[in-house]
Amino acid sequence: MPQSILKMKNITIDFPGVRALDDAQFLMHTGQVHALIGANGAGKSTLMKVLSGAYTHYTGDIILNDKKIEIRSPQDAKELGIQIVYQEVDTALIPYLTVGENIMLNKMVNGMGKRQFIQYSQIHKEASSLLERLNIHVSSRRLVRTLTLAEKQMVLIARAISRDCRYLILDEPTAPLSNTETDQLFEIVRQLRSSNVGVIFISHRLQELFEICDEITVMRNGNFISHNQINEVTIDSVVEKMLGKQMEEQFPTMEREVKEKVFEVKHLRDDEKVEDVSFHVCAGEVIGLAGLVGAGKTEICKALFGESSHLEGIVKMHGKTLNIRNSNQAVNYGIALVPEERRKEGVLVEEKVSTNLTSAHLSSFVRRFSFLNFKKERTVSAEMVEKLGVKTPSIETKLSNLSGGNQQKIAIGKWLIADADVYIFDEPTKGVDVGSKKDIFTLILELAKRGKSIIYASSELTEIVGITDRSYVIYDGKVVKELQTNKTTEEQLLFYSTGGRDS
């Protein structure tokens, strides 16, 4: 296949109340990995949705090999060899069909011609050879339902290249992956590059872009900012371009006083993932639960929140033993959990911003006989939106109209209003851009300053080092090490979280 060039020129697209793209530009060749980055709401995903035919009301030109092309439906894009793998892999897969059927879905639907019967042996043969080509070790006869998230993603990549694929868009593919899985994905990406596929790679993890990408395009507020070879830029200069200003110290510092022990967990275990977890946290303290993806952090957080079955162990607050059997009790005891899967578990996308913000603490917004105090709800919501810097036209806006990062801020804001004693944050910065990350860190430290106890679970070890006072390393559902953060390094955390032991 000869090298081909893809250009997008002066792409503009409007949504009600927002101009999502404003004269955006993009240029790339096949046989390269091209990073596309920008803060939340910068328009990366929108630009790629235009390219893949999901948004059709754009203005501007798309040029492939000096020929102007029209992409006005996903079908158009696919026929031109532009394939996309979205971040939400589950929406693109049919769980109760096999891997092979999912990979060959397109052929089963469009490539049948006049034939009425499906030749499964052929389907599985072709699917297996695709999987083999990508070095993916998944049987084509397994049900997609039984796959891990990483495997599902690989199945989608296999589907994308099952037809003519000149350009492959990967929208934040590494966000839910563990380190090993990320390495596997990069192996596949390299393979695609060497077979002359142009890979567009969207990610918030700047580090990994330097590992895998050749070129980089930065966007901000719907505008094109820059296009460089990756070796011409550094992380700092990229961040500067993304934010439009110099990056200050990413982790704010705040004078805090660590007081008495508030929350204590002893020998916590459930019958699934959590095994013997003990830790404590004091008033005004931020502790980290560090560990790789899949280490069991989420399970521990959920268990503390009464969402786990057959829980054993002792949970104490202010010296009193708690008996948490469901999340309602946990909230009553003064525990708050900002869950990892915010869109699924943290927010109501079909409801207004204000309804979302007050949903965890509605009892403080009622007058006599449980009647709602709408005025107070509006005032407090508006304050919180202001404080969090949420980009929203008004507090009456439905959450589904906000960008992902802003929805996450709402999910956190909900608990700030709720006023608990112990806050559990599960990967609070997942999918959040650098600018908003700092807002979130500031909020968390402010909580600690007010004497709250913070449990910060994250696989981003930089954040653990940057924000916590003490940290516990989780490996395989167990606490394997307690560390004083100011005496530790990222390398040390990584060592323990990958199963390293003191000799």
């Binding site: 929140f305 699924k344 980009k391």
Partner: protein, 337 residues
């Protein structure tokens, strides 16, 4: 970043206001109400008697039972549930309340209370199986629909219960339906009862903490759970209230016809479903709501009444009714797309 984003927002929002009038948005919000007005105009031109007070009273009386049952359904819809058993619960309550009078000679209060208690038991059974056994609500209530229907039939031995009926032992029943009870099904009481129920449930769903919790659960159950809302408790409440209102519908029906026919409540299920779903879009609510359900019931009532006045044969009525329902849903879901 926030400074620049704010300016981009404020500069783009006037653009939104200027943006052309969205026809489907308008239709979504006001379509049902416009349809009602149109129908009233058409019917009153076709037959001036349509607008006479006696006929309006007639319409309101005819929709009151559907409305009461549909309001119960609205509550179950608000937690993203679906109670299909309301028709049979109405049948059961109807049978129980009449039998209390006719077979057992009970007082009005006792008769009504026993019927309500029976309904609460059904609601508890429904919610237990949904919440604890985790059976999908629509399937479960489909199952209980049959069970309750069967219970009602067995209880009445598949016979119509009325005053002076022949008992199995050959004698005539001696119990009488009280005069107070018979008032319940007559205008204006039946209409007042309906309006009071619509009003109370509207206040409950929109202005109280509990109603808000129900909508939160309906919007995202997992998020509601992790927000500390006692999800199961509210689901139980929703299904009990749903059954309770269905029973009130059945009791009012009993008062109106003064007897218990077999499966009398069944016919109300589908009308109630239609009313509640038409109501989703009223004034752009986008979610189940009591006022919308009432408007939906009014639409159905006007349609039925007007068609009768225009001498459309009763057997062709369902064609029109179904057609209007489909139209209302088309408007709702076209917008949602």
């Amino acid at each position: 970043m926030s400074a620049s984003s704010n300016t981009s927002n404020s500069s783009s929002s006037p653009k939104q206001n200027k943006q052309s009038f969205d026809f489907f948005q308008f239709l979504y919000k006001y379509g049902t109400i416009i349809t009602i007005i149109l129908l009233i105009v058409i019917f009153s031109i076709a037959n001036p008697a349509f607008l006479q007070w006696s006929n309006i009273e007639n319409i309101l009386r005819s929709i009151s039972i559907v409305t009461i049952i549909a309001i119960g359904l609205t509550i179950s819809l608000s937690v993203n549930g679906f109670d299909l058993s309301i028709g049979s619960v109405a049948s059961l309550a109807n049978a129980v309340v009449i039998s209390m009078f006719v077979w057992y000679g009970q007082s009005t209060l006792i008769a009504i209370l026993v019927a309500l208690v029976a309904a609460i038991l059904v609601g508890l059974l429904n919610s237990f199986l949904i919440v604890k056994m985790r059976i999908p609500d629509m399937l479960l209530t489909l199952a209980t629909m049959f069970v309750i229907q069967g219970v009602a039939l067995t209880y009445t031995r598949s016979a119509t219960i009325s005053e002076n009926m022949i008992m199995p032992d050959g004698s005539y029943s001696e119990g009488m339906i009280t005069d107070v009870f018979s008032l319940l099904g007559k205008a204006p009481y039946i209409i007042i009862l309906m309006l009071v129920i619509v009003f109370i449930v509207h206040i409950f769903l929109t202005y109280t903490k509990h109603g808000r919790y129900m909508y939160v659960i309906g919007g995202n159950e997992e998020a509601a759970r992790l927000s500390g809302i006692p999800v199961n408790k509210y689901k139980v409440l929703a299904y009990v209230l749903s059954a309770l209102l269905a029973a009130i519908g059945g009791i009012v029906l009993a008062s109106r016809v003064m007897q218990a026919e077999i499966n009398a409540g069944e016919n109300y299920l589908m009308d109630a479903v239609a009313a509640a779903f038409i109501g989703l879009s009223v004034l752009g609510a986008g979610k189940p709501n009591a006022l919308g359900t009432f408007v939906g019931a009014v639409l159905i009532g006007i349609l039925a009444n007007g068609l009768v006045m225009m001498s459309v044969p009763y057997y062709a009525m369902d064609i029109v009714k179904g057609g209007v329902f489909a139209l209302a849903l088309a408007v709702t879901y076209y917008k949602l797309k």
